[in-house]
């Protein structure tokens, strides 16, 4: 155990001293635990971010297919098929945007510890989401009457698939909102502990932003 070998060994070890390099400090007394106290980003936030990444890849696949057909076609909509109704959809878009705001209100409510505001905000959000889906449904009925079907070539197929998948996500997100609402009624959240509300809100906003992108892409 000469001095020389000793320094050689230390030299090749990673440079940082373990404790200094970390923002995580082990608990005194050594009865360790998950170092969650000093996390910068909560598990819930990381997980939701990852979920959104996955969702984005899913829609990237669908949008990619849509673009292939749209860019590759001579006329869009192809002759004989109806254009998409812009007016109603604008209104619908605004409704969804408002739902994003009510979701924000709900989240702000619970951040202050105001559970009533949280519940009200969640209900409004789900309600607006519901109206959005219903309006979209009626729009579809109209389009089908005008002869636009799933089987109307790529124009019909991509439209219903892409927009339908988004609608399914709205419905799924509504389910999540209702779940959070039910938990809120059981007083599950406080000003300090409401990761689940936040996760739900982030997802809801994602669905709204996704809609904006699809609206710009598909309806124009």
């Amino acid at each position: 155990m000469s001095r020389a070998t000793n320094t050689a060994a230390v030299h090749d070890l990673p440079r940082e001293e373990p404790l200094r390099a970390l923002h995580v400090v082990p608990r005194k007394g050594g009865r360790g635990g998950p170092p969650s106290r000093s996390l910068k980003v909560s598990n819930a936030r990381v997980a939701v971010a990852m979920l959104l990444v996955a969702e984005t890849m899913f829609f990237a696949g669908l949008i990619g297919a849509y673009l292939v057909f749209r860019v590759g076609s001579v006329a869009w909509p192809p002759p004989g098929l109806p254009a998409l109704p812009l007016g109603v959809t604008w209104v619908n878009t605004v409704l969804l945007a408002i739902s994003g705001v009510t979701m924000f209100a709900a989240l702000r409510g619970i951040r202050r510890g105001d559970e009533a505001v949280l519940r009200r905000g969640l209900l409004w959000t789900a309600l607006l989401g519901g109206v959005f889906v219903v309006v979209q449904g009626s729009e579809w009925v109209g389009l089908v009457r005008h002869g636009l079907q799933l089987s109307s070539g790529p124009y019909g197929g991509t439209f219903y698939t892409l927009i339908g998948m988004h609608a399914a996500h709205v419905v799924g997100a509504m389910g999540w909102v209702f779940f959070v609402f039910a938990m809120a009624r059981r007083r599950a959240y406080t000003a300090k502990a409401h990761d689940a509300v936040e996760a739900c809100a982030i997802y809801w906003w994602y669905v709204c932003v996704l809609w904006a992108a699809l609206f710009a892409l598909v309806y124009h």
């Binding site: 360790g32 996955a54 890849m57």
Partner: protein, 579 residues
Amino acid sequence: MSEAAVAHGHDEHHQGGFVSTYLFSMDHKMIGKQFLLMSLFMMIIGGLLALMVRWQLAYPEQPVPGLGWVPEPYLYEGIIPPETYNMLFTMHATIMIFFVVIPILVGAFGNFLIPLMIGTRDMAFPVLNMLSFWIAAFAGVLMISSFFVEGGAAAGGWTAYAPLSAAEVYTGVGLGQDLWIVSLVVLGISSMMGSINYITTVINMRAPGMTMFRMPLVIWSLFITATLLLLALPELTAAMAMLLFDRRFGTSFFLPETGGEPILWQHLFWFFGHPEVYILILPAMGVASEILAVFARKPIFGYRAMAVAMIAIAFLGWVVWGHHMFQSGMNPTMGMAFMTTTMVIAVPSAIKTFNWLGTLWGGSITFQTPMLHALAFVSMFVIGGLSGIYMAATPVDIFIHDTYFIVGHIHYVVFGGSVFAIFGAVSYWFPKMYGRMMNEALGKIHFFGTLVFFNLTFFPMHIIGVGGHMRRIYNPLQYEFLQPLQHWNEIMTIGAIGLGLFQIVFAVNFFWSMFAGAKAPQNPWNANTLEWEAPTPPPHGNFIEIPTVYRGPYEYSVPGMKEDWLPQAQPGTGVGVAH
């Protein structure tokens, strides 16, 4: 959730019932074992399908021995009809890729190793983890059930090229192909849940002192793999949805008569598919790195280069998909671009290989079963990587595309690479998983048998591929130019039967050792990483006390020390400290 995990930290005496311990367990270790057992079972099915394929190729249209009882229209007095033959290779590949290699490497070892090796008590979301297993199991049931529906199982190849796969008229397969699609979508959901869990756990729950660049390479590889899965599978899910809509709801994404684009499927599929092949190999690379360092008693050569090479592969993997489509009629300029990126992505693989050799150089190597498998991994992976270069060279690919050369390549990387790594991983971590050692003699018999018969089965594929032997053909004797190659088909089939038989040794060893193997010490291989700090087998909650990490994972043979290993969790420089 994490609070609950802590509360259950030391609860040997606080056991739940059978259902919560073995079925709906939320303990990452039990979930890992569930994945392992499910996948090994699927491996038997996938293997038997492959043997039937091999039988038909060597002895076309002769009855398969012992299968005379299988009813029509699957077999005709043991004779495989072409429709069934197509189902056999389609389902073989699908099962092996999606229900064997990924669930073992990612599902079983990802689950078992990540919390143990980064030093935490469980995954970030144990409930999600439990669900991800049961959803995967459900996907498996869907996939297997597709054999028993009217029209049989999917028969369009694992790549499911449209329009063959997009309309029932082309194959006669109806519900079976739909089930195939739905099963993979369900599996995609499971793998998304798993990936989210792994990524969150690795980012947020590392033990004190466990910086990213102190993580063992196998954790790096699983982390990167989880990212790839998270990105790739949803895109496949989108493609699958479109395919299903084409089949059932009259859309025309891939059907040309009504304006669809068949080649769009190929782009969507391979955009997922190439990252997918790295999903199959990256964790195997990680496993091999662990084992090589431990049994060579040396620090891994070029730790950072190894991690960075994997990251590079993960990025480059997204821009090479076109190399599967050189003969699809794509723009020749695109072909050149994809050839270039493909050549580039071969470089990190080469770097890794050289670093493994560097790890062996100057080592003090012992040859227990895990090491033998890891060495075979390196050796076989080299062959698979080199054969990749032939196909990457576009003009050469004109000739060998869709021949057995490709099949040889696939099997050298996925069997020679991933499956050898799986065997290595099982024998290496078995003591921690089940608290007992696997039998070394049986392990060696299995290893050498597998190595010999593996090469006998798969190496000649390159030869007949060079001879022009197409893949996915039912009867090579229908072609005059293939007649002189037929003896190879017989040799390969004999090899495959031997390969199958030697797996029985593995099964016997696995189950026998599980119940009757020698009791394993806490750290049987004198390894540094954190899983060996936990009791054997680790209780719910893993560690008596969460370890603190002081150094990288590969401090073997540090000069001046008495011992030749220096655990990550041991304080001090180690010099002069008796372990």
